[in-house]
């Protein structure tokens, strides 16, 4: 098995869903329900949402990756959720575009690395459309611009259907990231807003992402 992007099954139907601002765990439960539907043969999904501020700890996450203490998080009303995603700690907050693709990995030769790389490429191409030069980085996942991290990835896979996905800092309040050590690394985060010097219209970002998605994942929207 030597999968390349050329053997991706093309022209798959894909339903677009925008969940708006949604509680993290509620979105997690909705994803689980949709994974079961896609396993059963329903069309793939491309889901957009934003989350109220929340810290999530992936399977490789350790408590020491969270710099804030429990009292501090409690006072600020920021929940900490342990989840079934690869990767370490991450932070979601309004202004960050969260993308949850529910995708059949059978289409990509059941290759987790290829799919993760494709998610990074989607973010890179999305940002390029807004004149932000970003890239992936050898040895560390995510998408980086000017040495700072602008998008994070992490997936879960059940019955060869992937969920979780991609988080792009559009207008995220970057001060919030001082609560964590993102991905267990000493990294600085950035956002489209910080790099461009102005807030970015989320609607335009979603629209651009759909176009990039259709191109990379060879899907056609049926919504």
């Amino acid at each position: 098995m030597n999968p390349t992007s050329t053997n991706i099954q093309t022209d798959q139907p894909c339903l677009l869903e925008d969940w708006g601002l949604i509680d993290y765990l509620q979105a997690w439960r909705r994803q689980q329900a949709l994974v079961a539907e896609v396993v059963a043969g329903d069309p793939e999904r491309l889901i957009f949402c934003e989350h109220p501020t929340v810290l999530t700890l992936g399977r490789l996450g350790k408590d020491e990756h969270i710099l804030a203490d429990a009292d501090q998080l409690c006072t600020r009303g920021i929940p900490l959720v342990r989840i079934d995603r690869g990767g370490e700690v991450t932070l979601h907050a309004p202004g960050q575009l969260v993308v949850y693709p529910i995708v059949r990995l059978d289409r990509f030769g059941r290759d987790l690395k290829l799919y993760l790389a494709m998610l990074e490429q989607v973010a890179i191409d999305l940002l390029r459309g807004f004149d932000i030069l970003a890239d992936s980085s050898e040895g560390r996942r995510g998408v980086w611009a000017g040495g700072r991290k602008i998008a994070s990835i992490g997936i879960g896979v059940r019955k060869w259907v992937a969920y979780h996905g991609l988080a792009v800092n559009v207008n995220t309040d970057l001060a919030l990231f001082s609560l964590i050590r993102p991905c267990g690394l000493n990294v600085q985060m950035t956002s489209m807003q910080e790099l461009l010097g102005h807030a970015v219209d989320m609607v335009q970002v979603k629209k651009a992402l759909v176009e990039v998605w259709e191109r990379h994942f060879k899907v056609h929207r049926i919504l």
């Binding site: 992936g58 690869g86 990767g87 030769g109 987790l112 690395k113 990835i153 992490g154 896979v157 992937a162």
Partner: protein, 76 residues
């Protein structure tokens, strides 16, 4: 008796780590039930039961690494 094997996860992935078992020794499972969750790179991955039966042995503890193709459990 059938072994539950860690399948190929993609080019360049040689091993994963057992994140958590969803079953115990002696438990009945149905084909396709997720029985163990592994983690590699930025992905978690659930391995399903290959057949109906009872979990006879769990061969790799949580937190331990496992190579592609290595048996994770046996089901009778």
């Amino acid at each position: 008796m059938e072994q539950v094997i860690l399948p190929e996860l993609g080019e360049g992935i040689t091993q994963a780590t057992v994140a958590c078992w969803h079953v115990k020794v002696g438990q009945q499972v149905a084909v396709d039930d997720d029985i163990v969750e592994l983690v590699t790179d930025k992905a978690t991955f659930c391995v399903p039961a290959p057949k109906n039966g009872m979990v006879q042995n769990i061969l790799v503890a949580e937190g331990q690494p496992v190579r592609i193709g290595q048996p994770l459990a046996t089901i009778r």
